[in-house]
């Protein structure tokens, strides 16, 4: 997917003005937040669980080489094949090779964000394969030819009317009465997808966790689509980032408890599947050909630098749901695969900081994302760190940089600051007059577009304080 993160500002403005998108976001908004709150409240010591989740991920990241090697050895011992992909291009080549060797025509996919990250759908289609997304939301946006706008609810930006129109266009043409109700739409998608499942030659899934001890791939869905994607075709390909590995099954279950509650407020996802290798001789179903593609794509670089904490992310989406900026504009404005706070840290790692100037800045550092992150990623600190890199490299834009430096310069000179500040507040008070506020201000970069500016009392606290003290002394 080609990044448009450099156009964030224009895209955000357009999103705010898009009535249909606003209707969809408004309808979705709050649901995840309320459900998560209830699930967390019902769990004894959720804070302790978060701390345990964080420690599991930190420990694994400290010994990532060891656990990855152990995981790979176990997969191979179980009859699977492990492929190491340094970047997206390598991963696409590996996956296309497997599909060609399997003489595949049709590929079913269970939702994978790493798949979006490497643009696997376009590559498969260019290679002549039919690709069908089997997660309902992902299927909807595949029909709409759009990227996901949320990492766990990819079609959250779509209204029911839009989905109804899409199904109309793709499933049966306008001669059949259009489906209006949600259950009808779900039923129709289920029927269409059922045939795709049965006819698929290759199934591609992501992974929520990779268990080093056993070589197990853990997958969660609420639709069972991953299970059908991986049991029905003869070939199963798992595509996962290298940061998904955890040491033991017990570690995976700790993280599962965090994941479902943080993502959707469920105690556990409807389907939690543990995949350990291809079909054994005595088993009735499952693939005979089983591959795990482990993707680096910049992750080992992050492991070595100051953004390592981001590799703890388990992709629950809680930071998106609790972000007031994401809630206002949805995911597409961010311009690449990962939106919201986690995306604002990740996207610059993938597309370059200079091509994503706004992402670290379009945030008030209010910290709500960090407060709900199941693995305690200090997202505001990481965003601030990106701002520091931008400032060091001189990316920070002209007027803003000049104004900030001027303020800092003056603030470091209290004896100059006080008289100048005194003059400035007198001037402001004059501008505000008796009303006590101004509708327009000279040199204003954006405040008075939508707000009045309270113009103050005309003299500073420090001046008044010293005057009173002096009078007191006399």
């Amino acid at each position: 997917m080609k990044s448009t993160a450099h156009r964030f500002k224009a895209q955000a403005t357009a999103a705010l003005a898009n009535a249909e998108l606003q209707r969809a976001l408004h309808k979705a908004g709050g649901g995840f937040v309320d459900k998560r709150r209830a699930a967390v409240a019902a769990f004894p010591d959720f804070e302790g669980l978060r701390e345990r989740g964080k420690r599991i991920k930190d420990h694994t990241l400290c010994h990532l080489d060891v656990y990855l090697a152990r995981f790979a050895a176990q997969v191979e011992a179980n009859g699977g094949k492990v492929h190491w992909a340094e970047d997206g291009e390598a991963a696409r080549r590996i996956i296309l090779d497997i599909c060609r060797r399997a003489r595949a025509r049709s590929v079913t996919k269970a939702k994978t964000m790493v798949g979006e990250e490497i643009g696997i759908n376009d590559a498969l289609e260019a290679g002549g394969f039919e690709v069908v997304e089997t997660d309902l939301g992902e299927y909807i946006i595949q029909l709409a030819k759009e990227p996901p706008s949320h990492i766990i609810a990819p079609a959250i930006h779509k209204t029911r009317e839009q989905i109804s129109a899409l199904f109309d266009q793709h499933h049966h043409g306008s001669h059949t009465p259009r489906l209006r109700e949600v259950p009808e739409l779900v039923d129709e998608a289920r029927q269409v997808l059922r045939n795709k499942f049965l006819g698929a030659d290759v199934g591609i899934t992501g992974a929520n966790f990779l268990v080093a001890d056993t070589g197990t791939v853990v997958l969660v869905t609420n639709e069972g689509n991953a299970d059908l994607s991986l049991t029905l075709p003869d070939t199963h390909i798992v595509l996962a980032g290298i940061e998904k590995v955890v040491p033991t099954l017990a570690d995976a279950t700790t993280l599962l408890r965090l994941l479902a509650r943080s993502a959707t407020g469920q105690e556990i996802s409807t389907y939690t599947t543990f995949v350990t290798g291809a079909r054994r001789p005595d088993e009735p179903d499952g693939p005979s050909d089983y591959h795990v593609v482990l993707l680096d794509n910049g992750r080992s670089r992050m492991l070595a630098d100051e953004f390592r904490e981001m590799l703890r992310c388990i992709r629950c989406g809680a930071c998106l749901n609790h972000c007031p900026v994401y809630s206002a504009i949805g995911g597409h404005a961010y311009g690449w695969v990962y939106p919201g706070p986690m995306g604002s840290v990740l996207t610059p790692q993938f597309v370059g900081l200079d091509a994503a100037y706004d992402l670290p800045n379009a945030c008030t550092l209010n910290g709500r994302c960090q407060s709900v992150c199941p693995v305690k990623i200090p997202l505001p600190s990481l965003l601030r760190r990106l701002r520091e890199r931008q400032f060091e490299r001189g990316h920070t834009k002209g007027a803003a940089r000049w104004a900030l430096r001027a303020w800092a310069w003056l603030a470091q000179r209290p004896r100059l600051y006080r008289p100048l500040a005194g003059s400035a507040v007198r001037l402001l008070a004059l501008l505000g007059g008796k009303r006590g506020r101004a509708r327009r201000l000279p040199l204003d970069p954006g405040w008075t577009v939508s707000r009045d500016f309270p113009t103050g009392a005309g003299s500073t606290f420090q001046a008044q304080w010293h005057k009173r003290r002096k009078q007191g002394d006399d």
Binding site: K9, A12, T13, L16, P324, V325, A328, I329, D358, A362, C363, T364, L365, N366, G367, R368, Q370, R384, R387, E388, F391, E392, T396, A400, L404, R405, W407, A408, W409, L410, A411, Q412, P414, Y417, A421, A424, V425, K434, R435, G436, R437, R439, D444, P445, G446, W447, V449, S450, R451, D452, F453, P454, T455, G456, A457, S459, T460, F461, Q462, W465
Partner: protein, 257 residues
């Protein structure tokens, strides 16, 4: 730490917003602290805590302002600020100055005795000896994000407001959601900021409160400015002004009488 018998010497770091645009917040803080038995001083040489530089990625200027603030405010029993975000900024000084062991140690000593005003009055002084205050109005309270999440300020202002005669607090929906100020955010991304502050104002208006309170002037200027533009007759005040019995004059951005 001071002996219990002796009245603590408190440095008031008034914050640049209160200093320049709402001096009454400083005087309210002084009144509250003195009523609680503190000897209050306003150290010379205080200007800005460095937050704008720090949040814009300018670590060098933030560190310079940190050293200036430490030099101005050390040597007191406590440093108190009528702002959660500025108090939170002072708590960042040790890591900001971590490269310089001597300054980092001075920063740690300062941070250990630095408090946001309402948290100081409750958590340190036990919410006793407030000056008598009366405020016959329905109010709602906005939680500033930095105070709430960096310093855990949530219960403290409410506990203090419960002691004000005649005051009726109605909580708004999403009181802990950002108002869209965010320092330079509000002028860098005015459309996003406007959307967030409009949502905040709608939640405030839905309570029917006559007054919105907060412990953070950044939020209050943003909210008051938007309330005025929307033509809503809700007054905005810093919580210290109401606690000190100084809430009856013009609100923030309100016509001077």
């Amino acid at each position: 730490m001071p002996e219990p018998s002796r009245s603590p010497r408190v440095a008031l770091f008034v914050t640049c917003l209160a200093d320049l645009l709402r001096p009454q917040v400083g005087f309210a803080a002084v009144k509250l602290l003195e009523a609680a038995g503190c000897r209050v001083e306003v150290p010379e040489g205080q200007t800005c805590c460095g937050q704008p530089a720090y949040n814009s990625g300018d670590r060098a200027d933030a560190a310079a302002l940190a050293r200036q603030t430490i030099a101005a405010c050390e040597g007191y029993d406590y440093v108190v600020l009528p702002s959660g975000s500025c108090a939170g900024m002072l708590h960042q000084y040790p890591q900001l100055l971590a490269d310089d062991p001597a300054w980092a140690e001075r920063a740690r000593r300062l941070t250990a005795r630095t408090h946001e005003l309402t948290s100081f009055l409750t958590d340190v002084l036990g919410a006793k000896a407030l000056p008598p205050a009366r405020f016959d109005h329905t109010v709602t309270y906005h939680d500033g994000c930095a105070g709430l999440r960096e310093l855990g300020v949530k219960r403290q202002p409410r506990q203090l407001l419960a002691q004000v005669t005649g005051l009726n607090l109605i909580e708004m929906r999403d009181t802990d959601v950002c108002c869209g100020f965010g320092g330079t955010f509000c002028v860098k991304y005015p459309e996003l900021s406007t959307r967030m502050v409009s949502d905040k104002c709608a939640n405030i208006a839905a309570t029917g409160a006559e007054v919105v309170l907060a412990g953070e002037l950044g939020c209050l200027f943003n909210i008051a400015g938007r309330l005025a533009r929307e033509g809503r007759a809700v007054k905005a005040l810093h919580v210290a002004e109401v606690l000190a019995g100084m809430g009856d004059g013009p609100g923030i951005g309100e016509e001077r009488s």
